[in-house]
């Protein structure tokens, strides 16, 4: 008898680019041993990834808030224009910075994981 659950039998349906979902495995708080990387370039890249992820998250949140307000009609035309202009420029700047550090969009994509369910 297998001492491990039958994982293959659990996959009901999968459609699309699974790498975008499988990548989350890296971000689960878990006890699996991890390699320690002390290469300075990698450390800098790791820090950049952290900082840019935070900034990107903030940007997405603010944008969502603004879109929601726009949807419910509680923004003036001037506000919409100003916000849109800011978000557009911020998005562009983020793409530049991400590229500068040799990162990809997918690298800035951390999930809330378990804490997401507390909200």
């Amino acid at each position: 008898m297998s001492a491990e659950p039958d994982l293959v039998g659990k996959l009901l349906e999968a459609d699309g680019d699974l790498r975008r979902i499988a990548g989350e495995l890296d971000h689960l708080p878990e006890a699996f041993p991890r390699r320690v990387n002390a290469d300075p370039e990698q450390v800098e890249k790791g820090l950049a990834q952290l900082v840019l992820t935070v900034v990107e998250l903030l940007r997405q949140l603010m944008e969502r808030q603004a879109l929601r307000r726009m949807d419910t009609g509680t923004l003036t035309d001037e506000q919409i224009e100003r916000l849109g202009d800011t978000f557009m420029k911020l998005d562009q700047r983020m793409r530049e910075l991400t590229e500068h550090f040799g990162l990809e969009e997918g690298d800035l994509n951390l999930n809330l994981g378990p804490l997401g369910d507390l909200l």
């Binding site: 293959v8 699974l18 979902i21 708080p29 952290l50 935070v54 998250l57 903030l58 969502r64 808030q65």
Partner: protein, 66 residues
């Protein structure tokens, strides 16, 4: 679609359930490992709590829950 990706994805679902879901009974012995990712997760919670709460409230009002 590669079999190892399927395996990884399903493993993700399993580990997420075992470590993050399920009933929590208050035992004194805590089994865990300090994890750098928790820093990432913590920051994200701090920054996204308002937006996510609003969003979930809207979804719930829309009848997503039964």
């Amino acid at each position: 679609m590669s079999r190892s990706l399927q395996h990884e994805v399903t493993l993700l679902e399993l580990v997420d359930r075992v470590l993050n879901k399920g009933v929590v009974l208050s035992g004194d012995i805590t089994l865990s490992v300090a994890d750098v990712d928790l820093v990432y997760v913590g920051l994200r919670v701090l920054l996204s709590s308002v937006a996510t709460l609003e969003e979930q409230a809207q979804l719930a009002a829309g009848g997503a829950q039964r």
